[in-house]
Amino acid sequence: MIEFRNVNKAYDMANGQNIVLKNVNFKFPERKNIGVLGVNGAGKSTLLRLIAGSEYPDSGRIIRKGRYSWPLGFTGSFHPSLTGIENLRFACRIYNADIKYVTEYVKDFSEIGDYIYEPIKTYSSGMRSRLAFALSMAIDFEVYLVDEIMGVGDQGFQKKCKDAFAAKRENSSIIMVSHSMATIKEYSDVAILLTGDNLEIHDDVEQAIELYSAFTTAST
């Protein structure tokens, strides 16, 4: 369950403020896979970070019940000077997950081989996201927050991600941000449109994508 109450969020920019959310009251639909649409800079990633609790709103409250993942993306929450395995252990400890099981699972799933013993800063962005993805699959979450991560790796790896998510469907759902309309269509049951300072929910994903496309062409 996640609910925004009177949430405000803005960024200070060189010339003025970039408003992401203004007095938003919003209840996210439960147990549905949600795709988030919005033009560049509308604050899609910020929205995910607010949902995760990695970032706080300027004012208002965010009420969250259940196990939410950290936002899975290219940057991730990994500490650059620690090795993959050290980062993994850290995550296991704070999420109370079994280190041995998670290590085995991640080694098998991520396909990064011996790089797991190297500092994260030596990783390519693809390896980083594969590690993040594998780790989040090994630690059970009710809601996965996914930031542009589905296009990671080769086709074989993508298929593995898809299968892993399919297996999780039973108990987990996704809230995802992607530039790829195909990915949004494939994974989402409903779409949320970031309109510049508010959130709009659309039960019909196709229709939301059309609206979004009109919006982007209009603004360019």
Partner: protein, 259 residues
């Protein structure tokens, strides 16, 4: 129930962070813990050298080494906590992406590691002194721990204030260092306050560290009761600066999470 759960999560986070800090400092290089021993050792050796060259006897007790040790350990506790808390957030920023990791947890874990390290270092040197035939007699463990606790509050408070200022004024780092380095010479590490004339003492009296180190030594030495240190002043300054540090941390921690 919710409160207990939150406490449980924070406990897990702090222990995971402490493990990470320990590994970062001592895990990867074999020199790590050796350095923790070497630093106080070097101070002790230098001062033994100076004092014997001047042909001076130890101001307290019968071992020069122990006298310097009881001054240098509280000093290092203070200055290491300041520098570790100051840089704590900026070197762990990535981990704040995990929602349950709070900036204050990073501070707590760094302070805990610093305290345990110096506690072990102190024990180690006391054991060495014992084997060398130097008589170890601690007057009151509790009276040593009271100033220790206050030093932790003082160092943490200053570190938190520094951490809040530096992002806005990067040059503040060198100003702070320039002002805090002389403290080493007026904190009573290699002398006791009654060795100073009243006029000079009045001049260094503002420095809470000289009060805290005097207090620490009064706790250690059965024969030493300094009447120059002012516990009330020390408590007032330490608690005050710590509270200010927490306040500043509260105000700036929202910003700390933005990437």
């Amino acid at each position: 129930m919710e409160f207990l759960n939150a406490l449980n999560v924070q406990g897990r986070v702090i222990s995971a962070l402490t493990l990470r800090e320990t590994r970062a400092r001592y895990g990867n290089s074999k020199l790590g813990f050796f350095w923790a021993l070497f630093e106080p050792f070097a101070h002790v050796v230098v001062f033994i050298g100076i004092f014997s060259a001047l042909d001076r006897a130890t101001p307290l007790g019968d071992s020069m080494g122990l006298f310097i040790l009881t001054g240098i350990i509280p000093w290092l506790l203070y200055s290491n906590i300041v520098s570790n808390v100051t840089t704590g957030l900026s070197s762990n920023k990535a981990l704040l992406g995990y929602p349950q990791v709070m900036p204050i947890d990073i501070t707590i874990s760094r302070v805990a590691l610093e305290f345990s390290t110096l506690f072990l270092v102190m024990l180690f040197f006391l054991a060495i002194a014992h084997y060398m035939g130097i008589r170890i007699r601690i007057d009151s463990f509790l009276e040593m721990m009271k100033p220790t606790g206050l030093i932790i509050l003082l160092g943490t408070g200053i570190g938190l204030i520094n951490a809040a200022i530096i992002p806005h004024y990067p040059s503040y780092t060198s100003i702070f260092n320039a002002f805090s380095r002389p403290l080493y010479f007026i904190s009573g590490i290699f002398f006791t306050a009654n060795f100073l004339s009243p006029e000079v003492f009045e001049f260094v009296d503002f420095n809470p560290l000289i009060h805290l180190i005097e207090w620490f030594r009064s706790g250690y030495y059965p024969s030493f009761e300094s009447d120059l240190y002012d516990p009330e002043y020390a408590v007032f300054i330490c608690v005050g600066i710590f509270t200010l540090g927490l306040l500043v941390e509260r105000l700036s921690s929202k910003k700390a999470r933005q990437v």
